[in-house]
Amino acid sequence: MLAYLLRRVIYAVPIMIGVALVCFLLVHIAPGDPLVSILPPDASADLQAQLRELYGFNRSLPEQFAMWVWRALHGDLGVSIASNRAVAGEVFTAVGNTLRLAVVATFIGFVLGCLFGFVAGYFRGSWVDRLASMFSVLGVSVPHYWLGMVMVIVFSSQLMWLPATGAGPSGSDDWAWDWAHLQFLLLPALTMSVIPMGIIARTVRALVAEILEQEFIVGLRAKGLTHFGVFRHMVKNAAPTALAVMGLQLGYLLGGSILIETVFSWPGTGFLLNSAIFQRDLPLLQGTILVLALFFVVLNLLVDVLQTLLDPRIARA
């Protein structure tokens, strides 16, 4: 098993390098000179050359890539063109905010998804199954940015129960796990949870249906085990895959939160990406994407490792 885990970790290294390369090249597929957005239109040739030197644009691409990676490894992701602050710091704050949102959303989605999935799989073909399956199809089909708008319409504009936008009564700087802050988190997290809910419900339903057809379940029943006892065995068998799906969903939410964060003005990575795109702040864009993508790779790796530890059959396959 150790060999398998080691192989899996080593395999992630080239992927990470590839991801870094894609992020690096993003700036170079962008139309126009990346310097244009920093320089005033009447900048002298001298100043241009100076800045080119500073940003390293005068060197060859492989050299630039090596420099960029070297700096990134030391926590230096460059300086934001728009705000003139270090990209790493901005991304770090934003990742924290997004992570908070995504973790809560994944948790809600996981609980609801497991519930629907188990019920649907256990009573396969019944009306409960159809209802639960309908919910999961709705969950994967809904345009979540629209759902966010509907949530704001219903709970903020009509019922006036919850605030519509922002991440706290005093902006985004001081987060606390109290109601004053949590009420800001509730709507975006609920909106976000719909996607993992649908996907986890689907996965769990298929898993449960598959497990129920296996002989050991018949054996357990024949042995005279109670419903609850059989259920326990089922959970044990379904848990590794369900948890793996949950981990991946967390990664997708982290990377895909931009639309929901835009709707709710949540000060996370999505919000950062959005402003980076519209101010053509390429270092910020590049840094945010790099951090999110690497997060996703590492999360994938962790999920694989955890799954192997929970279910040793995987390493043997």
């Binding site: 991801v19 390369l21 089909s141 345009p143 982290l254 895909g256 864009l285 994407i289």
Partner: protein, 300 residues
Amino acid sequence: MSTVLASSPTAVAVEPLPAQRSRGYWASVWLRLRRDPVAIGAAVVVLLLIALALFGPWLAPADPYQSSMLKRLKPIGTEGLPLGSDELGRDMLSRLIVGARLSLFIGITPVLCAFVGGTVIGIVAGYAGGLTNTLIMRTIDVFYAFPSVLLAIALSGTLGAGVVNSLISLTIVFIPQIARVAESVTTQVRTRDYVEAARASGASPFTIVRVHVLGNVLGPIFVYATSLIAVSMILASGLSFLGLGVKPPEPEWGLMLNTLRTAIYVQPWVAALPGVMIFITSISFNILSDGLRSAMDNKG
């Protein structure tokens, strides 16, 4: 020798004349799909949406571009404005109908392009095997390592706003996903006895792929691609929603949702309408794709 004998019955079952076989296959899929009322319902909705996309400009009761300062943000059910009007006083019903064309176009085109591109890449990788396979698949893995929304936004964000750029970025997002499916199916087919036999009898790789591989891999890839349409619809409209796709004043559901976002305190239900259209489209494609999948899985 014994292994050849043991596996030959299955090979015979799969092999017979490709042309007839594929027609029979699709006919039986259709027979099973017909017995699934939910999937048929979804198919009808999809056909209606496609009809809207094709004939929308002739079906719309009013000019979708005609704005009017006097008729701004009217509620649903106003005289002459059955679904109200948007922030510039344009008829919502007409904009929703005419918007079908652009919305479906930007949602479906990337999947079609990725279907072609991904299939070609996947078959080349799967059929060639060896180093070619490793090179192609490891590159694909890198793109696969990005969450799809992030990759789509990263690409269209750097390329800049516009329909063509959003189509390009979504195509790049879906190619790795389709190529993975194509590669794994091709790798399975490649080792079948009838491919060996064709190779032994001197058929060129191109002929083998055309005659033996394509017929067997297109079905599964097609089903997978249909399941991507719903995702693509949501993402494409999402890019427009962010201001990265279609530009105003074109009617497109995601963009309409974006421009109406400021109106949710004035006319909330009118503002939510474009999203309903996206929702209906994506759910119909999802149900239809699920139906297709189970109809194809049942092959006995």
